[in-house]
């Protein structure tokens, strides 16, 4: 009985941890969206805008996330991002495809919001050289990707979209919290040198 209770407690615990995960939603266009509204008391819109701008230019390589539009008057930033999603393999996961998305950041005094949407799945195929390459004309909005992927691969893909969106969001939050997100001065690395002359 005791063992049973302990087992149930353990299952409930793991269930609770899962329940704390974020989730993707649908927006008014019936597109997948990862949306967050964040309060940041004490930070004015200009500061948040500059920090958001710095995030989009410095946080990721341009191939991964690149600023596509900035509108200071509207306190709005737009970026285009992409990353690889893997496919369940027998031994190891392989490149299933890439996922591109749009990231939008809007700021006001003491708060900002951001969302990732317009996810497009580009399936990959193995070419004659054993390399992975995009399937020509194979890109499909994530909302329709279930028609091209197996159920397992589609669910893996959705999981990875969520995890990546959360990662991008968490990183953005860190940049927005920084007192100064301006370019860091590279301080020369201090190297401790040992003198062999005196001993």
């Amino acid at each position: 009985m005791k063992n049973l209770l302990l087992t149930l407690a353990a299952i409930l615990y793991s269930g609770m941890v899962f329940a704390q995960k974020d989730s993707l939603s649908f927006d008014e266009r019936d597109k997948y969206i990862y949306y967050k509204l964040v309060d940041q008391p004490g930070a004015n819109a200009d500061t948040l805008y500059n920090r958001g701008l710095y995030f989009l230019t410095a946080a990721y390589p341009k191939k991964t996330l690149a600023l596509s539009k900035s509108d200071k008057a509207a306190y709005s930033l737009t970026a285009a991002g992409s990353y690889m999603v893997s496919k369940k393999g027998l031994v190891s996961n392989s490149d299933g495809g890439s996922l591109s998305y749009t990231l939008k950041i809007e700021v006001k005094d003491s708060k900002y919001r951001f969302w990732l949407t317009d996810f497009v799945y580009q399936p990959y195929q193995r070419n004659r050289y054993g390399s992975s390459e995009p399937v020509p004309g194979g890109d499909v909005p994530l909302e329709k990707a279930s028609a091209k992927l197996s159920r397992v691969d589609f669910n893996v893909c959705l999981d990875q979209v969520l995890v990546n969106s959360k990662q991008v969001g968490d990183k953005l939050k860190l940049y927005m919290l920084k007192v100064s997100s301006l370019v860091k001065k590279q301080e020369p690395k201090k190297v401790n040198k040992i003198s062999t002359k005196d001993w």
């Binding site: 991964t64 393999g89 031994v91 996961n93 004659r128 020509p136 995890v163 990546n164 990662q167």
Partner: protein, 346 residues
């Protein structure tokens, strides 16, 4: 104590399972990837006079036979990458790769290293699948299970060194120097086959490759390989090539069309219509005699269930000369076959 330890372990595993899902690797240093396939088939030649249609693989008449197990390893760290792909079985050995000097076979499909000299320029060297043609050795890369005359008579692999420059994701140019003969692990004497490939993607979903391989020992082949995903369901491919053996020794020309229609998420129907003509000369192709031609029509279905693809196929060939035997054993201009294959890719 044991129970407490077990319980602690369970909680830890549960928590770390969730934690482990919270990372997505986005760096360019990909892990070691293991990939490959296995394939098996049954084929029946309608005239019951053995295997008549000279397809590279699916060669055994009235037999449940195997293709190959193909095992590949690849990894990229920073700018450097390698691919090593070995195959075992008739498709990967005697049917496609020559044996070594002692009768052994190295079973190599791809063995090369590559390095990104810049973001746009890549250097690759080793033993690589040929850049020529529409079809490939791996059953995963082909829609039809039997192979075209153009594939069967063209190169399978070209060892050499090549540079590829990507002007954009729509245009790239490859140029390289390859061994003097096709499909051999070593050159017979020289590394003097020049190879080049111009890739263009004029519109979304349309890719075209214009290929050239020319050398004093291997001859000259000019090849166009193109495919256009016209709608979500309909794809049209085309392969045209002409080959001239050295010293006016003959050759071949041909064209093959590959219309394919996805009728559901798991079923795609396709036709390969090919016209293949041999040039007059000494070269004996795997096909009609010099100066003759053959038309081949292959109706194929791909029925997918996850990584497994069933490939039923009917093929009818009709030549200008009596290259085949009919059911009575008399010479015939026509031959037909049925094949069903299963290909598992991983």
């Amino acid at each position: 104590m044991k129970k407490v330890f077990l319980l602690f372990s369970f909680f830890s595993i549960a928590a770390f399972t969730v934690k482990a899902q919270d990372t997505v690797k986005t760096t360019s240093d990909a892990p070691l990837v293991i990939y490959g396939s296995v394939d098996t088939y049954y084929k029946y030649d309608f005239s019951d006079k053995g295997s008549q249609i000279p397809t590279s693989f699916a060669s055994d008449h009235n037999s449940v036979s195997i293709g190959m197990i193909d095992l590949g390893l690849k990894k990229k760290v920073g700018k450097a990458a390698f691919v090593g792909e070995l195959s075992f079985g008739p498709r990967g050995q005697a049917q496609s790769i020559p044996n070594g000097p002692n009768g052994d076979s190295f079973h190599i499909q791809n063995l090369y290293v590559s390095y990104d000299l810049t973001d746009k320029l890549n250097l690759t060297g080793g033993y690589m699948a040929t850049f020529i043609g529409y079809e490939v050795i791996s059953p995963v890369g082909n829609f039809n299970y039997s192979t075209s005359y153009l594939f069967t008579n063209g190169p399978f692999q070209n060892p050499g060194v090549k540079l590829t420059y990507a002007f954009s994701d729509k245009v790239s140019l490859m140029a390289g120097i390859f061994n003097d003969t096709w499909n051999n692990y070593t050159s017979t004497k020289k590394v003097n086959t020049f190879g080049s490939q111009l890739f263009v993607s004029p519109v979304k979903g349309w890719t075209a490759y214009l290929n050239l391989a020319t050398g004093s020992t291997s001859g000259t082949e000019v090849d166009l390989t193109t495919a256009y995903q016209i709608t979500d369901a309909f794809k049209l491919g085309l392969n045209g090539a002409t080959y001239s053996a050295p010293h006016d020794g003959g050759g071949f020309s041909g064209v093959a069309l590959y219309p394919q229609l996805a009728v559901s998420k798991t079923v795609t129907l396709g036709l390969r219509g090919e016209y293949f003509k041999t040039k007059k000369g000494d070269l004996l192709t795997l096909g009609p005699p010099p100066g003759q031609n053959v038309k081949a029509f292959t109706f194929t279905a791909n029925i997918k269930s996850g990584p497994l693809t069933f490939i039923p196929e009917i093929r009818l060939d009709h030549g200008s000369s009596t290259s085949f035997l009919n059911h009575s054993g008399d010479p015939s201009k026509s031959a037909g076959q049925f094949a069903v294959a299963a290909v598992y890719a991983f």
